[in-house]
């Protein structure tokens, strides 16, 4: 889909090589309807939870390796009330993690999207910057954590740095391929009518690449969240990852599960909010 360039390898939205949509239509019509799906899904989840409760009541789940419902409840109470757990209450940890993710994410898209726009609209800039990308991109963001701790310690700065590393690359790459994929006829039409470089960028290239930019933002946000949790697990003062790491040392399965549920919930919530912003920002795609 994207023109072959130095920096577009995978990593962009290359999840599935989907087949021709025409051939899929009959099967799609046959596919589950939303309501049926919700119905079966709710029952399946309910049965699993019921099995968990029954197994715990019957004593098959003892809480040594997997928590019983009462263990989780106890953990929830402990972390939510006065002293909290692992250095603060639940609210405290959540606020810290969310604050860092949003900060790091904001810095990453604030630098990544403009760089992507620049590299997409100027082949010279692309040629100049892409070698650095090619060298640094294969290093997974999580591998930067020890270096970040060495350079910046265990505080907020190291976390923001690591999130930046993680979220920067997807936002640059997707913005870049978004700009490169803007219909050339539109660009020529704008030029013919005397659009300057800035006008071309503002009125043609940016709106045209917004869908891809949002794809990049979604990948960036997910990467930010994963990386932050990992960074907090390796070393932090507060945050959900810190709760996980203290609970691991205490061998406290109830707290581990409770913190994991929150990691999942917040991750889902962030992705959903970004999706909501996307539908607001791109009304013409609805």
């Amino acid at each position: 889909m994207a023109p072959p360039s130095a920096i577009t390898g995978n990593g962009a939205a290359s999840m599935a090589a989907a087949g021709p949509a025409a051939a899929a239509a009959p099967r799609a019509a046959r596919a589950s309807t939303g309501s049926r799906r919700l119905y079966v899904g709710t029952i399946a989840l309910a049965i699993t939870v019921a099995v968990w409760f029954i197994a715990s009541a019957a004593g098959w789940v003892t809480g040594g390796r997997f928590p019983t419902p009462s263990d989780v409840w106890r953990a929830a109470l402990q972390i939510s009330t006065d002293g909290g757990y692992g250095g603060g209450t639940l609210w405290h940890h959540i606020a810290q993690s969310c604050r860092l993710v949003l900060l790091g994410f904001a810095v990453a898209i604030g630098t990544g999207v403009p760089l992507g726009l620049l590299m997409g609209s100027s082949r010279r800039a692309d040629a100049l910057v892409s070698p650095v990308f090619m060298l640094l991109r294969p290093i997974p963001p999580l591998a930067w954590i020890p270096l970040a701790i060495l350079w910046l310690g265990l505080g907020d700065a190291a976390k923001i740095f690591v999130i930046w590393v993680a979220a920067f690359v997807p936002s640059v790459i997707n913005t870049f391929s978004g700009v490169r994929n803007v219909d050339i006829t539109l660009q020529e039409a704008a030029r013919v009518h005397g659009a300057s470089r800035m006008v071309l960028l503002r009125d043609v290239l940016i709106p045209g690449s917004l869908p891809m930019i949002f794809t990049g933002l979604r990948l960036s946000l997910q990467a930010s969240w994963t990386t932050l949790v990992a960074a907090e697990l390796v070393g932090a003062f507060t945050g959900l990852g810190k709760v996980l790491s203290v609970a691991t040392l205490d061998i406290y399965p109830g707290m581990i599960l409770f913190a994991m549920v929150w990691v999942g919930l917040l991750g889902a919530l962030m992705t959903k909010s970004l999706g909501w912003i996307e539908t607001k920002a791109l009304p013409w795609l609805r």
Binding site: G11, L147, I256
Partner: protein, 270 residues
């Protein structure tokens, strides 16, 4: 007309020679800046060793033991763990995805679990992984699995859902049963999508492994890096990062070759 416009457009960009020159400039500037920053003393050299220092460290680590083993042996331990976790993810994810693409009841049952677990970052499985399977091979395998599994499943599922309807009908006319349909029609037809998924999954799996090794394991490159970080040995940390990056590239290149082969064989341009 279109070709004419494209040519006119291209003429505004740099020529091939200019491109190569700019590319080289970027490359050289990166290393020069790095070396200059480390030599100038603006940043203490202990915190920012130059590229040559890091290269020297890599050479030294390949015969001298650090935190229990040489760099290459640590790397081998990591690759072994990765391979096991990745194979397990593929062995479970691909068949499950194909079956979900054919049997609607399975899709209805598995999807809600999958959708709700997908949002838990792979790295958040590290505590349970250690508790359930220990920190040797089992624990990291679970972490890799939780990272590498979703793309395997999703792409096999999509591949199976988007199979050419005529193939399915032809097989049905000839009386193919459900299992045969999955094995003989859906699997071959969705191979290109599956391989694309494998590449994504290998990338996430490798990254998850590194995370797991930073936290719980007692060997592997991640462990080496944590030890180096505790000893404030920046060159060793950087050597570990480079080694991780190189292996990541090697895995990706190998899977890309497989992908190209399959796409060519299936007569599809990627």
């Amino acid at each position: 007309m279109a070709a004419l416009i494209a040519r006119a457009h291209r003429r505004q960009g740099p020529t091939r020679r200019e491109f190569v020159m700019l590319f080289t400039t970027g490359l050289v500037a990166f290393f020069a800046l790095w070396q200059a920053l480390s030599m100038s003393g603006i940043v203490p050299r202990a915190f920012l060793p130059g590229p040559l220092d890091v290269l020297r460290t890599i050479v030294r680590l390949s015969y001298e033991k650090y935190s229990g083993d040489t760099l290459w042996r640590h790397l081998l331990a990591s690759i072994g763990r990765f391979g096991l976790g990745f194979l397990l993810a593929a062995a479970v994810g691909i068949p499950l995805g194909l079956l979900m693409g054919w049997y609607r009841w399975l899709d209805d049952i598995v999807s809600p679990f999958f959708e709700s677990l997908r949002f838990v970052a792979p790295i958040a499985w590290v505590p349970f992984a250690g508790l359930w399977f220990g920190t040797g091979i089992g624990g990291p395998m679970l972490v890799i699995f939780s990272g590498a599994f979703p793309p395997c499943l999703i792409n096999a599922y999509r591949g199976a859902k988007y199979v050419d309807q005529r193939l399915v009908e032809a097989a049905q006319t000839l009386g193919a049963s459900g299992p045969r349909m999955v094995a003989d029609v859906l699997l071959p037809a969705s191979l290109p999508s599956i391989v694309a998924g494998l590449r994504v999954s290998a990338g996430i799996g490798w990254q998850s492994l590194v995370g797991a090794e930073l936290i719980v394991v007692a060997s592997g490159v991640g462990y080496l890096m944590v030890q180096a970080q505790l000893n404030l040995s920046t060159p060793t940390v950087m050597a570990g990062m480079i080694a991780i990056g190189l292996v990541g590239v090697a895995i990706d290149v190998a899977l890309r070759m497989l992908e190209n082969r399959i796409n060519r064989h299936w007569g599809r341009e990627s």
